[in-house]
Amino acid sequence: MFLQLVANGLVTGSVYAIAAVGVSLVYGLLRLVNFAYGDFMAFGAFVAFAVNGPLHQSMIVAALAGMAATAALSLVLDVVLWKPMRVRRAGFMSLFLASIGLALVLRQSLLLAAGSAPRSYTVNPYRVFVLGSVRLSDAQVIAIATAAVTIVLVGLFLALTTWGRVLRAMADDRALAAVAGIDVAGATRMAWLISGLLAGLAGVLAAMVEYSFDPNFGFQLLLPVFAAVVLGGIGSAYGALLGGLALGLAQEVSTWSGFAGGVNPVYKPVVAFGVLAVALLIRPQGFFGQARAG
């Protein structure tokens, strides 16, 4: 039972981790807490649904389409919304509130276009992989494998490539990076591109794991993802990865009956915030965060 919960936790956690990196990258560069990120995820999941359902394409094609569409959406929004706000030197609060407005617009547009009925991909929900005492569904195995590959790729990208170093340098000290001759506009586009791709991927994976999803499901994922970002330290991409995995594990393992009977599963989201609250009491800036915003 315990191992099963750990496995479930890794599945949930890896979806959180992917999304949390996407939020964190944009925050690191633009000081934008993107409240619309959950709806980016739902957008990606629904584009993939359109490709997988009505268009009868394979799930891989559908996922790639969802990622591409979400990346395109975030790049377009940067041009029409975030760039004009940067030009006006909008601060953190303005950006946050604008992203809340954007979240409303996106989610309601999705509801208008796709309806509020729950949807499912055409994947087999009954095929099960058995690994010792652990049983995982098709979707869970795919999610965990894809997430593992993605997390390694993102980690390598940030650590080894020039763009990765640029993004981390800008997250550390934007002004210094700009003085050092870094292409700020290019880095911003790069951050939105990756953030959008990750949102689309996390959305598709979350939708597969949950099996049935509606346009509101992105918003329900947003708060645990934010909790993961804060836990890791806002703006730290590696922190977001670890924060996501840690929260996913904590949520699932807390229901284990060996823990004084375990937490009622309906309170899993509350567990995520409980972990966050305790972590912030010990370390107010998160695992890897800076004590002061730069």
Binding site: I100, G101, L104, S109, L112, I234, L276, L280
Partner: protein
């Protein structure tokens, strides 16, 4: 269109605007006075409404004992939230406050024995008993109506809500002009400077948070009385964002801009009911609710981009950073 000309409908719109005024005034105290970025205001509203309803239905308390305790419970919620979180950076604080209001909603949804769960207040009492929490309030409302010679309940509620709102606005207006209010604004403008003058920044912020929470608790009471039924779904984060929109519509850092913002918001929200002309008639009427929220989202974005001090705000006094 007939509803457009019915007095009852517009009285209802104004009652709701009055309740929003009190809710958003709480945000103004927290953000406009003290600079606290609270995105969990609806959680305090839920605490107020539920505490009153539970005490009246389950414990058999009088409405007039339960209501003050409900306000105190909301304020205590503010203290509890503030103690561990007020030392956090503003962005962390904003996220944690949303999380707080969602936790309140999760507990209200799932702790069925306490709150009636997702069925709402109908399930508060035991099976077969009437679980009305507002009989005390209704008889008071009828008395007031008789005394004022008003025949409809909507209009009576309108008078009561706005009298209370104006009293609270006036009190806040005076509070802002006391030395206490000046220290709050000093903290908002430059926390370190206020601290270096020996002001206990943490204590002041905590007081502002609790005071704003108490105001949200009052809004929760009126919400409960006006609708005579509520469920956890009434306390979605969306309501907090409506209150923020009201703050922006009115103006930041000012007391009397709050009711203006709330009325403008009330009329936008009610007015979007009447989108029954093309192109809106191209979509089904139940789907027009989505369009209404799209419009509200767009207004928030446009306001934030074009008038970060709010419609009536003074740029010199306070701008959304």
């Amino acid at each position: 269109m007939s509803v457009l000309f019915s007095g009852g409908f517009w009285a209802f719109v104004c009652v709701v605007a009055g309740i929003y005024t009190i809710l958003a005034l709480g945000l103004q105290v927290q953000f406009g006075f003290a600079g606290l970025l609270n995105f969990g205001q609806v959680g305090f509203m839920a605490i107020g409404a539920y505490t009153m309803a539970i005490l009246v239905v389950k414990e058999g308390w009088s409405t007039w004992l339960a209501a003050p305790l409900a306000i105190a419970a909301a304020a205590a919620g503010g203290l509890l939230l503030g103690l561990p979180t007020l030392r956090l950076r503003a962005d962390y604080f904003a996220i944690v406050t949303i999380a707080f209001s969602e936790i309140i909603r999760y507990v209200a949804t799932n702790d069925t024995s306490l709150t009636g769960g997702s069925q709402g207040t109908i399930a508060l009492g035991a099976v077969g008993t009437a679980s009305e929490y507002n009989s005390g309030w209704s008889s008071f409302q009828t008395h007031v109506g008789h005394a004022l010679g008003i025949s409809t309940g909507d209009t009576t509620m309108l008078v009561i809500v706005w009298v209370v709102a104006i009293i609270l606005l006036t009190l806040s207006w005076f509070a802002l002009r006391t030395p206490w209010g000046r220290v709050l604004r000093a903290i908002r403008d430059d926390e370190d400077a206020a601290a270096s003058l020996g002001k206990n920044v943490f204590a002041y912020k905590l007081q502002a948070l609790a005071l704003g929470a108490a105001l949200a608790g009052i809004a929760g009471l009126f919400y409960a009385w006006e609708f005579s039924f509520f469920s956890p779904d009434d306390f979605q984060p969306l309501l907090t964002f409506f209150a923020w929109m009201i703050l922006l519509l009115g103006g930041l850092g000012r007391v009397w801009s709050v009711p203006v913002g709330a009325l403008v918001f009330g009329f936008i929200f009610a007015g979007t009911r009447f989108l029954n002309f093309p192109p809106f008639t191209w979509v089904a009427s139940d789907e027009r609710a989505y369009i209404r929220l799209i419009i509200i989202g767009l207004i928030i974005i446009v306001l934030v981009v074009l008038r970060p001090q709010g419609l009536l705000g003074k740029r010199r006094e306070m701008v959304l950073e």
